[in-house]
Assembly symmetry: D2
Homo-oligomer: 361 residues x 4
């Protein structure tokens, strides 16, 4: 609840965007999983600002420290505490909005809920909060790889109206990382990059869709009825900043099909039960069926823009907010490791739960 996520593999993130530091405590990680700082740093580097010229230019090295839970390169089974200091805190960038609510940001709702906020930045609603998630997700990926060989690959599927053509069955991490927009459709990637640069010049921002596939998922993950796998995936991913939609398999598109078109026929592939199509997206009745799990997350265009906007202030006056400082014209490339992290966290959590509750044969 609140700042904790997961049932058996639980993470608690903490830290404001412009406070001293941000971090995460990972509880419930099985013992004796090999964990190296580099595993975590590699994922944080994919999330960090300033990694390319199409993201925000906030300068953060986002160096992780592991404070507990790892001993001689292995997890102890005790909580793993990870800390990242904030570095590039330009609070003066925020001075002009100390008492002015930025449209479609969380300034107003936080102020209304808590009666106080750290106006020096986005506080907990900032994308910096996801540092803890991505660090924890790196550990989740290690557990999944070690325990059951699950492989998770995410990529940018769409920016603005530009839709990529990607085969989730075969796409590789290398293809994703081949360009700074993290879109493995090279041709579309170029167009996306152009469009993002244009948005930056305009002081405007773009949204889009991240797609993630999990391959080699064991059959049987998902706890009926409220912890159906898609329900927990949805919750995890919808809790990411700026995420406004989630779908699995055929998703919204599948609503225009008939049952006879949409049902996935079963067949035997040797001794393994398979489906000929995968409109279910690897989940049936809330439980993984062994096919690839395919999900999509919709991100709205980032709320920070460099344009003049109508708004109000804390005293209840209409006013105008001028764009100033730095902005991220498109969060999608950095959202890829975030969505991967949430998927990894949900899968490892359900993997552990399934280990607990399954019949004893």
């Amino acid at each position: 609840m609140g700042n904790t996520f997961g049932h058996l593999f639980r993470i608690t993130t903490w830290g404001e965007s412009h406070g001293d530091s941000v971090g995460v405590v990972v509880d419930g990680c099985p013992s004796r999983v090999p964990i190296a700082l580099e595993d975590i740093q590699r994922e944080l580097d994919r999330r960090r600002p300033g990694q390319s010229d199409i993201t925000t230019q906030r300068k953060e090295t986002d160096r992780a420290e592991i404070l507990s839970g790892v001993f001689e390169g292995q997890s102890l089974g005790s909580p793993i505490s990870i800390l990242v200091r904030n570095e590039d805190i330009r609070s003066k960038d925020y001075e002009h909005m100390r008492t002015t609510f930025r449209p479609s940001h969380a300034d107003y709702t936080y102020q209304a809920k808590y009666g106080i906020r750290n106006w020096k930045g986005g506080g907990r609603a900032s994308a910096r909060e996801t540092i803890g998630r991505v660090a924890a997700g790196a550990i989740a990926k290690k557990v999944l790889a070690a325990e059951c060989g699950v492989e998770i690959v995410g990529y940018v599927k769409q920016v603005w109206t530009l839709k990529a053509d990607v085969d989730p069955n075969t796409v590789t991490l290398a293809q994703v990382e081949a360009n700074e927009v993290r879109c493995p459709d090279a041709k579309m990637a170029s167009k996306m990059i152009e469009r993002i640069k244009e948005a930056r010049k305009d002081g405007d921002s773009l949204g889009g869709i991240v797609e993630v596939v999990a391959r080699n998922v064991p059959v049987g993950l998902g706890e009926p009825v409220f912890d159906k796998l898609e329900a927990d995936l949805g919750r995890g991913i919808l809790s990411l900043p700026a995420c406004k939609g989630f779908e699995v398999g055929s998703g919204f598109g599948g609503t225009t099909m008939t049952g006879s078109q949409h049902n996935d026929p079963f067949y035997m592939d040797g001794k393994r039960v398979r489906t000929r199509t995968n409109l279910s997206g690897g989940i049936q009745g809330g439980i993984s069926n062994g096919e690839h799990i395919v999900i999509r997350a919709a991100f709205k265009p980032t709320a920070t823009i460099m344009k003049s906007q109508e708004t109000v202030d804390e005293e209840g006056h209409d006013t105008t907010l001028e764009g100033r400082g730095r902005h991220d014209p498109c969060v999608l490339p950095r959202a890829v490791p975030m969505v991967e992290a949430m998927m990894s966290l949900v899968l490892v959590d359900h993997y552990l739960m399934q280990r607990a509750v399954k019949g004893s044969d």
Copy 2:
């Protein structure tokens, strides 16, 4: 977790589709809320099979009994246990699929996960499981109405490719209940009904989209960061059978806009902070901002069809499943009270949480 949903207002549903009965225990309901059996029965009647000629013809009266937690017409603050007996259990309808997995149903995944299943029907994966949710949702609606005047209206927004035009700001329950497809766009409703009847004749099924609006929601509901309001709404609604997608506000559609088009400008409406547009769908930074909350849920076409399908059996042989028995050509009209229930449950849960944690002025 598992069969329990909610943090402070918690429901636990139980019961197999073809067992003795189904039910729910509602825990955490505030005391002294007026609760009448009719409040619950009314919602169950909207959910029940056989209520019109475009739904499944399983004959169930779905009569609720309140076994505890209500005394002289008021909630006691103790758990409210509600029971509904199953009546029309035609297990022989299922005899032919005792060992055969129905495509895109949960038969295979349940068998793989649990090594056993009640093959006489869909068990927990059946839509009958939602009886408990709808009964609990009726109580949640009473609490919301009594405590803060929240009003929740759901309706069918789309069936197959047929999309209705509905204004969430003004739509009424009476308009929704005016036709059996629960679509307040009367013209489109007729087309939907025609299309559903055609699907029934074909032995096929249709999916679609339910849209729900919550009006008069207090500012400040939603717990950062993992219990953002949209995250809990998403989890609740994605846990409904056949739901493959969820979105809030602009959702997937908003991904093709720019930030300057998408941001909702603030303005003062007397002493109240309002937004000129509501692409945020009433939630900013995971917290309600006082505007209408608008969400959409995508339902795939029902998996049960009356056509011959390729599949496998428990012994690992390829086989063919013939359509037999009764089928629900379109679950959408009955899904409306289900989605409303989940939204009510999430809102009342967050209402109670907000009452707990808010600063004390």
Copy 3:
């Protein structure tokens, strides 16, 4: 939380003492555990009123119905719902205390907390609430027996000032059930029975201590740091009505020893690590060490007595309450299955957790 107990093996009890019925939903039970109604009924019969002439004479048959979760004699992995109808509801026995608070009962605190109470009996604070616990405990015992051979034996260790001499290493269920006070020290049992009969005649009541031993507990159960095994056992047992104290191993008595007297020396018993003494009570650092787990629960004398008592009424007037109706002179014999149930529930819950989180070799 509230009316739900357990992390992976979760029970939710419901029902007021003088309402329609009481019951429990058991969620998280592994599938394919053999469960017969008699397993449950046998434990309920040990708990039920009127079973001997030293307990309350309320006449309840306490017949259990299994409404879900069991199919052809085996658990399905879905929630197991169990219902017991209330029968002997003499609400007129309570009429005279409709607005008068019984001393050391929960009448006043419930009224203060909820602003309402079912004055026809003790409501949720009644020992009838434990029916659900005992029924669920019967299932937990079946799981423990099936999965890891754990054996749980409880007995009355003390009534009033009368202390029994019992060896937890060897005591058997047959010895416990050999007399109606459930004390395996036959000589002391006779004295206890005499003393209880005397208390009944006096219209007074007695407290005492229940001791429970769990044998064959696997090494490794218990989750540091807040779900230490003794912490969860303590919580479960202290939540029983009238329980005022809990201790494990040497407990309060151990406080007068020195470390060199109290430490349990390790030695090798073949390939097994054992301790020469067991002052730890089978738990070290919150984790089971394979020795017998021994706990004790202190129960105050039952609050209902047949004597005149000073009290106040709902309107805030001093008044006198006369004893009337039936009373239970000593709850201890019936508390034995209750404490056993809570211990079984905690152990099975931790057994499942340990299965989830242990390293994978």
Copy 4:
């Protein structure tokens, strides 16, 4: 669960005794509570080793850093992360027990459960883990004081066989802090100090009892039935290292009384309902009744002693462990702030819950 405690006011502690640091994340703290570093440091100083000559001489300054959640001296409503670096890590003190299990420590059970342990000290089972609890408890105390004026005073009630005479109704913090054993019975305190010094000289250790009183507790805290106030208090306190027993009010002593002796008669004190005696310990039916809450916690003698002990090693050989390094002859004085912290945490958690669920008048 695991390393997280609480329902609405939740703490997650992390850190091994001989790792880099230890800490806590406090989630669910209401916003705008004044919090100063000194509030936390003051409590940590009462807990820290080396504070007097009757405790362990490990040299730790235990300086706390607040990393998040506090802004300009007030809580933000976001997670409060607190970190304390370990300083005096003499791992060589532990070298000789790298593969040898210390009797009545957690070495063996941790090794059996996790297959790995940080042998450089007690890891999570060390009393250093309680730093996070005490820091969080300091915040809980601030919330309680600010919101409802609750006052919590703990003291050493017994060391070895030496029992103090203290009146929980009147005892003050100043009286407690007047001597290094934290026993407000000055005469008995001297004897205790003598006895502890003797134990130190002997290389032996002593146990005892801590008693804590909470005064000014509002009526109505406690959630039936599994989160009865005494159940949550018991769980919290029994999760402290070395705690083997817990009791509330009359506790184990009350078992030798009759009901007519034990019941607390109600009377009107002006408009307030009071009880003439307080054998209930301020809790009836699991809910606070407005009288002082009085609990006691039994601590076994510390396991670390400077004597030669029989034990086994990781390879399964019988062996002997020699006493070496530093030891704490009596943890009781330092246990006082620990028990106070757990009581504060439970009370603030229940205070928030009660605010959420109470009826709305």
